[in-house]
Amino acid sequence: MEGNGPQWLAPTSLDEALGMRAELQEEATVVAGGTFVGVLMNVGFMAPAALLSLRGVPGLSYIRADGELRIGPMTTHRAMELSPDVRRGWPALARAFGEVASPRVRNQATVGGVLADADYASDPPAMFLAMGARAVLRGPKGVREVPIENFILGYYETALAPDELLVEVRVPGGVEAGVYRKFRTRSSEDRPCVSVAAVRRGGELRLAVGAATSTPQYFPDLCAAVGSGTRRAREIGEEYASRIEPISDSRGSAEYRRRVIAVEVRRALEELAYV
């Protein structure tokens, strides 16, 4: 990088953006809302040689509800929180977006950004997973859809290839009930210690525990057992807790997180009328 700072790349079409992405790959940091990039640059963890801004690409900010929910990557958190379509058909998703940080962050941060960043403590990823959402990725080799549980792979690590962009998120309809629980141990502005996102659709349950470890934790076999009524909510909570290796940080130790996981999973199930 020059002493003049990074290069600012401002493509004006999706094809141009994809072309730049394919050419530069990890040499250019993609900027959607810019919140995550801004924080990392301020704390000195990142000093990119080039910034690839999606801001000027038209048609990336949309919410379309037509049986299925289709969301453009530049859609802000605030738009998701307030969208009448999302609130009507996927209300727990709107609520989860509304729980993120502050209105300032929600005005700036995007749907594509929060998934691509894969920050373990973010709210939307666990909710998207519970909603059965898929990330649509596009690159030189074409388009592919990846379920969220296969998209987020680790701390700040996703299945997005260095020559791909996340171009849409798709969420199936038919949600019967959903709950998002955000357990904080300290200030109400704190990031979560443990979060639980749970959705019931067609008699089936999907439940993900977030913020406890590197990725949202989803166990289909346990969810199936709840759905069929063969296991009690309390047992499922304890099973989830025993299968997860939580982290320790200023919000709680690993042992404490385990205790909370058991309680919060049970409470989420109770909210969805499972006993």
Partner: protein, 722 residues
């Protein structure tokens, strides 16, 4: 500069229109910007410093540039402008740079290479007093700064830089006569001040004098220390104090000023230092403390004896830690008649960032322990905690264990009001409800002076060293002056304090300023009436305590209050939901009601943070949550129902209340939990700790108590010999 906190009776205010200028906003022609390179080790010898890669246009300051400068420290002279041979905490300043832009200074830091040889370190106060603990400082030199205002008692050859005692009666004999004796060990974690504006100062050398614009609460102490550092007469140093975006004790004594001054000396230019947020946790925090307390009473609740041993962890530099330890010690018996009281309070070095003045000044720590202990005693006596307190509480004319007579006493009234406000007696078992009553001392001895100048245009100018950090002391002083002069407040101006122009004042700490200046103003106005052009008033409060017996006058003027709390517990997670807190604070006479309310509310809210979730986490002496995502302060949604009283009395003096409502909040909440069978001894009462206490069935950790008692006895035995 005009008064940035002029009357809120007008339509606009510099705080609302954004025109207020803080210390960090100071600009001066030709000014350069500084950054500091800090130690990554808790204790190490500096083997080599290599600055050869730093480009032209950046000036570097190392220990070689400051060998002619003297050591300093407001109570113990244990600091140097930069580390000399050793670094003693993670974050210790090792090299400083100045450049024309902040970016250039920033970019120079990674180019500097420092080699260290690691040395053994201690991190907690109990580790530091254990036999064979490595010494942070081999010797302790008492400062000549007027902040070393009491008999200092460092113990050479140990990590104890001050010990304070109260010897009143005979506790050992008295405990033997008690019907009931209760003892416990309490701990408080460190916390951060988090002023919204970071530390900032700008220094320049001008015609042989050092001039510093600094966000500081202690202009005259800084003047003295800076003069000592640079070998100047105090009159050759000038300190000007722009308003601060909060301080809460963080911006006291020399913090960034000496580095700014040394860089200004080397560059020949004005140099400004503004700290990064992360650096705030490496500059000054609150004293963690361990307090062992034992109290004995008769069956009817009459208190007979109390023994306290406490240790304040002052980090690698004493700063005002000896004063904190002293105040923690003399307030630890609580506002009660107790015929036998022994206190041993210690200020202990460790290899962590320095701890210093923090709103409450040692009294939060001891009130937590003391008032929790009272509820434990009440439970053991099968007595109502409120009744136990009222039976023993200090009244007008009572003698405190320091030997001083208590006057203008309001403890009973404050406690009664707080208990009523939370409906403490609506149920016999007080489930989920707790109370706390407190006494807090004010800086004694102290000296305050103020001057009033009559201008030709009919206005008056106040010359006073009291600084503005949001507490509203300056408008209060303006208002009191206006009332005494019989003029509208708009005719009284109060420029930023400038030590060239204002008479001496001890410092703006200890919630003293509105009180002492209210008295000094009376003298100043009287003097002005005689002189016509300029009147000066001075008030001196004598007193102090013998450090070996704790006898004398601890405080010329006691801050008094009480609090109540109503708390629910989620027993499956330990998470607390505070429903209501109330504080009753003795105000004597309120000067500006809205400002007084704001100070109470602000103290209460800060107390909630201390009680529930504020703590600094360390790993090997390194702060691991040095940012505002990992360290939380209270926000809007954290507010319970908050109510408070400002208790006034006809003919009373003005009482300072900048801190009083903070210390009782944690104890009131802790006592609310105790009433529900949850026994908390550590602060903050995090959800995890509460859950652990619930898991333990509310029982006390006997093994830990025994271990602490052994440490206490060994520690006391060692300090007895000094």
């Amino acid at each position: 500069m005009s008064d940035p906190t002029r009357s809120s009776d007008t339509m606009s205010d510099p705080r609302a229109d954004g025109s207020i200028r803080y210390s960090q906003d100071m600009e001066m022609e030709g000014m350069w910007h500084a950054r500091i390179l800090r130690s990554p080790y808790a204790h190490a010898r500096i083997r080599r410093i290599d600055t050869s890669a730093v480009p032209e246009g950046v000036v570097v300051l190392t220990r070689d540039d400051i060998r002619d400068l003297n050591r300093y420290g407001c109570q113990i002279r244990d600091e140097s402008v930069l580390a000399m041979d050793e670094v003693m905490f993670v974050g210790a300043p090792v090299v400083a740079v100045a450049a024309a832009t902040r970016r250039a200074a920033d970019e120079a830091l990674p180019l500097i290479d420092v080699d260290y040889d690691e040395l053994p370190a201690v991190f907690t106060e109990m580790e530091a007093i254990a036999p064979g603990a490595p010494l942070v400082h081999p010797r302790h030199y008492i400062s000549e700064n007027d902040a070393a205002y009491f008999g200092m008692r460092p113990i050479d050859g140990t990590n104890i830089c001050h010990r304070f005692r109260i010897r009143h009666g005979d506790v050992d004999r008295a405990f033997a006569e008690c019907d009931v004796v209760v003892e416990e060990v309490f701990t408080t974690d460190s916390a951060a001040h988090v002023p919204m504006e970071p530390h900032a100062s700008l220094a320049r050398w001008h015609e042989g004098r050092l001039e510093v614009w600094s966000g500081t609460q202690t202009p005259f102490n800084n003047r003295m220390d800076l003069a000592g550092i640079f070998g100047l007469q105090p009159e050759q140093v000038r300190i000007v104090c722009p308003p601060m975006g909060g301080s809460f004790g963080a911006k006291t004594f020399v913090r960034t000023e000496a580095i700014a001054a040394a860089l200004a000396r080397k560059t020949g230019r004005p140099v400004k230092v503004v700290l990064d947020r992360a650096e705030e946790w490496q500059t000054m925090n609150r004293h963690p403390a361990t307090l062992w307390m034992k109290i004995g009473a008769m069956r009817d609740g009459t208190l007979v004896a109390k023994h306290v041993a406490c240790w304040a962890n002052t980090g690698a530099h004493a700063d005002s830690g000896p004063g904190v330890a002293q105040k923690m010690g003399y307030a630890s018996p609580g506002p009660y008649r107790i015929p036998n009281v022994w206190v041993d309070s210690h200020c202990v070095y460790t290899n962590t960032p320095p701890n210093g003045a923090y709103r409450g000044y040692g009294q939060m720590q001891c009130i937590w322990a003391s008032e929790r202990l009272m509820d434990m005693l009440a439970r053991r006596l099968d007595m109502d905690p409120y009744t136990l307190r009222m039976k023993n509480i200090l009244r007008e004319g009572d003698t405190y264990c320091t030997g001083e007579i208590m006057h203008d006493v309001a403890f009973e009234e404050c406690l009664r009001r707080s208990a009523e406000a939370i409906g403490y007696h609506t149920s016999d078992d007080h489930a989920g409800k707790g109370v706390c009553v407190l006494m807090k001392g004010m800086q004694t001895p102290s000296r305050a002076s103020i001057a009033i100048e009559a201008e030709d245009d009919g206005t008056f100018t106040i010359r006073c060293a009291t600084i503005e950090m949001g507490q509203g002391a300056r408008p209060a002083i303006r208002q009191m002056a206006a009332e005494l002069l019989g003029v509208p407040m708009e005719r009284v101006t109060y420029p930023d304090p400038d030590t060239d122009l204002v008479p001496y004042d001890t410092r703006t700490t200890s919630s003293r300023s509105t009180h002492v200046m209210s008295r000094a103003l009376v003298e100043a106005v009287r003097d002005l009436e005689k002189n016509g052009k300029r009147g000066v008033g001075e008030v001196t409060d004598k007193g102090g305590l013998d450090p070996d017996t704790g006898q004398g006058i601890a405080s010329s003027h006691w801050h008094q209050g009480a609090a109540g709390a109503v708390v629910d517990v989620d027993v499956e997670t330990g998470k607390l939901h505070v429903r209501h807190v109330h504080a009753s604070i003795y105000a004597g006479k309120v000067v500006r009601r809205a400002a007084a309310e704001l100070q109470n509310e602000g103290s209460i809210i800060m107390g909630l943070g201390t009680a529930l979730f504020e703590n600094i986490t360390f790993d090997g002496g390194q702060v691991t949550n040095a940012n505002l995502s990992d360290y939380n302060i209270p926000s809007f949604h954290d507010m319970p129902r908050i109510t408070h009283d400002l208790v006034e009395r006809e003919g009373a003096q003005v009482y300072g209340l900048g801190e009083t409502a903070l210390p009782p909040i944690p104890a009131a909440i802790g006592n609310a939990l105790a009433a529900s069978g949850i026994h908390m001894t550590a602060l903050p009462m995090t959800a995890e700790r509460v859950l652990a206490s619930i898991d333990g069935g509310g029982t006390v950790d006997e093994a830990r108590r025994r271990e602490m008692r052994d440490i206490v006895e060994a520690g006391l035995h060692r300090s007895e010999k000094s």
